[in-house]
Amino acid sequence: MDEDRTRVLLVDDEKDFVELLAERLAGRGLTVDTCSTGNEALERSGGGNYDAVVLDLEMPGMDGIETLKKLLAEQPELQVIFLSGRGTLKTGIEAVKEGALEFLEKPADISTLLTHIEEAKTRRIVLVEKRMQDEIADVLRRKGW
């Protein structure tokens, strides 16, 4: 795997939509995986494999907000962008309050989505680096070095 390529997980139960979007993002140099439920998203993203998760709000079983909470509980640095056809101001605010980076309404322009994905990648790198620095500082403090 090319380490520099942006890695994205698309989570949406609209099969045609998600496959077409994946193909277009892959054509723009991203590494893209897809799945259709919140549970699959939790399984797939377990290894910290993704720079961003693009998540639908309404899916069979676990909904998008619940999936977001579980994803962030496991990986606080993970960046989640909502992309939903059920956009209301209330749900958008709730998603951002729960830790989503952005809430986009379908149909979203691909260049807008790409901008947010790149923003997600940068933000994740900053957060991971900060966590590593904090961990090193903690070790140094505990060892009294």
Binding site: D13, E14, D16, F17, L20, L21, E23, R24, G27, E58, M59, P60, G61, G85, R86, K106, P107, I110
Partner: protein
Amino acid sequence: MSEGPTPHADHDALAFMGAVTASVSHDLSNVLSTIDQVSGLIEDMLIAVERGVAIDPARLEMVQGRLAHQTKRGVTIVRKLNTLGHTTDDPVRQEDLALVFSTLLVLMERMASRRRIQVIFDPEQTGHMVEANPVTLYHLLYHALLLVMDSYSDGGDVTLDLVEEENSTSISIAGHDLASVEGGGDRLAVIHVLADQIGGKAMIDADDPGCLEVVLPRVGGTQE
């Protein structure tokens, strides 16, 4: 948007229309978003062609197939939504229950899929005619279907059957355990009221606690 019944009968009919249109607008948004992605992919292909890259005919065929599928899906949803909209045209008219359910099942597809519900229904069971206020009839059968869908905690089959009796048509909607549905008693009370408004009745099958039976007077039957 609440999908279940509210405590106010007047508001509830509007809430039913609101819940259905909100759900359907989500479906239509997905249809249009997919068509938008098809358009974007064709644009990507055209840019590739301008750069001298040959297009694989299989990819074009795939794109065309998805476009045709989504267009057909969108047309079906819009037609059924139009049918629901026209339920307000007449205070009373004859309705074929198979067509009513065919309409409701398209409009409630997202509600079913969110619950992982597969509805088993043969739309060829035509000819079961009911004379009623169309809004009340659709409203009643919407709540009946939704109640049975909610009898599953994590998906399952809902089987819908129409049986002609001497003076009535019996609609059987079978799912899991209806006693387990949260707020089931209140929801069943709303179903009773709506059934009563069109001269029918609703009950949980004494032999099958997962089956809701709605009995409606049939056109041509002798009134009791």
